[in-house]
């Protein structure tokens, strides 16, 4: 490791890290917001469930680099537009979470739903105040997988020239220089672990009734 180089490159690395966080976290939030109603729909309708899960599986099959290249055709963006990455990762996140949200709602005990109904909760209130909160642990488990894989997937965008931590890899390859590559890998893994930890904390905060043991 050449620490002197790292010191000189500090500002640039912070800039790349910032882009990486933005490109990984935005799709996570967008994906969750889209997956919640879709997952609820799949949970409600036995006919929609296999359809949505099937389409999600197919979308997941498309390799990331191919998706990054194909999206400009659909979105009308330029190949170098970071929007392509956000859109692609949002698609992956939705594909992963639709099924997770449906399964989370399925996992809510029938007694709990009946109790909510008996206490006078209407359909919408029961969903927001009872069923979704009870399903939080399942959803957050899926969200953790999406968060960690997003961080890794973002780095592929470096091959197209979109700046983020993956740029350190291509830079290191061109210069035949280990320092940026190792720094990039470490930052990616640390970023993934931090996001993962934040979701675990959020899960605990949202479900104060569960025992304080984290099953990973």
């Amino acid at each position: 490791m050449n620490f002197e180089w790292l010191g000189r490159q500090f500002d640039n690395i912070v800039f790349l890290l910032g882009w990486h966080v933005l490109l990984a976290v935005t799709p996570l939030i967008l994906g969750l917001l889209i997956a919640l109603p879709l997952g609820w729909w799949a949970h409600r309708s036995r006919r929609i469930y296999p359809l949505l899960v099937g389409v999600a599986g197919l979308l997941y099959t498309v390799p990331s680099l191919a998706l990054f290249v194909l999206l400009p055709l659909v979105l009308g963006t330029k190949i170098l537009d970071p929007m392509n990455i956000v859109a692609a990762l949002t698609i992956y996140t939705v594909a992963l979470l639709v099924r997770v949200v449906a399964d989370a709602l399925d996992s809510v005990p029938e007694d709990t739903v009946q109790a909510a109904k008996a206490m006078g909760y209407r359909g919408y209130q029961s969903l927001v105040k009872v069923e979704l909160p009870v399903g939080v642990p399942v959803i957050s488990a899926g969200l953790r997988v999406a968060a960690v894989s997003n961080v890794s997937l973002v780095s592929v965008a470096a091959l197209l020239g979109i700046p983020q931590l993956g740029s350190l890899f291509t830079q290191g390859f061109q210069l035949r220089f280990f320092t940026p590559i190792i720094a990039g890998i470490i930052l990616c893994v640390v970023l993934a672990m931090i996001l993962d930890g934040l979701i675990i904390l959020l899960n605990r905060w949202l479900t104060p009734w569960t025992p304080k043991v984290v099953a990973s």
């Binding site: 390799p63 191919a66 055709l73 992963l96 961080v151 091959l159 890899f169 291509t170 390859f173």
Partner: protein, 239 residues
């Protein structure tokens, strides 16, 4: 893109599309075979004996966070000086592909063997089956759906990552994407992207078909809903 795909000049020669697909498949299948040879016996061993379970959870999570582009480039810089020929690029690519493919096969094989109904194993033992025969005649056929779904995830991961390996001058369909980018030829990139996506979709469906054919019907007699639910969540393609 359409013009690129239908130009006969792109369908022959060393850089022709059939050749690129062939190369892509060759690397992918070699990597899959090596990964399966490592991961299936290890998964069975861990599943049957219960030894080394801690390794499984850690491995699955740690490797998901590892950026494959970085790993690939790191290994090329480490290994290629030792091999002056083309091997200096092929070897690191194969190592990365195998590394990415082992965890899904390993974790699914382990989970599959663990999930076999203990009553079925006891029944087989009661009928006088020996440990080895229980393994080959009861535990393995029962865990086959999960093992194959692990192989399916692994193959997707490999096909996807082999595309990226073109960046460090591996052959295959990734060439169209990387060379297209270098030459500012967007239609070539799109043609490559479409072909890679189709290749992945085709092999995913092929493995789904094989799974339906080889899994014992006794294991798949479920209601429609639970049949969908029984298909394990795909592990994300982290490339």
């Amino acid at each position: 893109m359409i013009n690129y795909l239908f130009d006969p000049a792109h369908w022959s020669g060393a850089d022709g599309i059939p050749n690129l697909i062939g190369e892509h498949l060759l690397y992918s299948l070699i990597a899959l075979a090596i990964a399966a040879v490592i991961a299936v016996p290890l998964g069975i061993y861990i599943g049957v004996t219960g030894k080394g379970v801690f390794m499984i959870a850690g491995l699955a999570n740690a490797l998901r966070a590892l950026p494959s582009v970085g790993l690939l480039i790191l290994l090329v810089l480490l290994i290629s000086p030792a091999f002056p020929s083309k091997m200096g690029y092929i070897l690191p690519s194969l190592i990365v592909l195998v590394l990415l493919a082992v965890p899904p096969i390993l974790t699914n094989t382990y989970a599959g063997v663990r999930a076999v109904d203990a009553a079925a194993v006891d029944a087989a033992r009661g009928m006088g089956f020996r440990t080895m025969k229980i393994l080959t005649d009861v535990q393995l056929p029962c865990s086959l759906p999960l093992v194959l779904s692990g192989v399916r995830s692994a193959l997707l991961q490999i096909i996807s990552t082999a595309t990226i390996a073109a960046y460090i001058s591996l052959g295959g369909l990734g060439r169209l994407l990387i060379d297209g980018k270098a030459q500012n030829d967007y239609s070539q990139m799109v043609a490559g992207a479409v072909l890679v996506a189709l290749l992945a979709l085709f092999f995913d469906q092929l493995l789904a078909f094989i799974t339906r054919r080889v899994v014992s019907p006794g294991l798949t007699r479920r209601t429609i809903k639970s049949a969908v639910a029984a298909e394990p969540v795909k592990t994300p393609v982290t490339v």
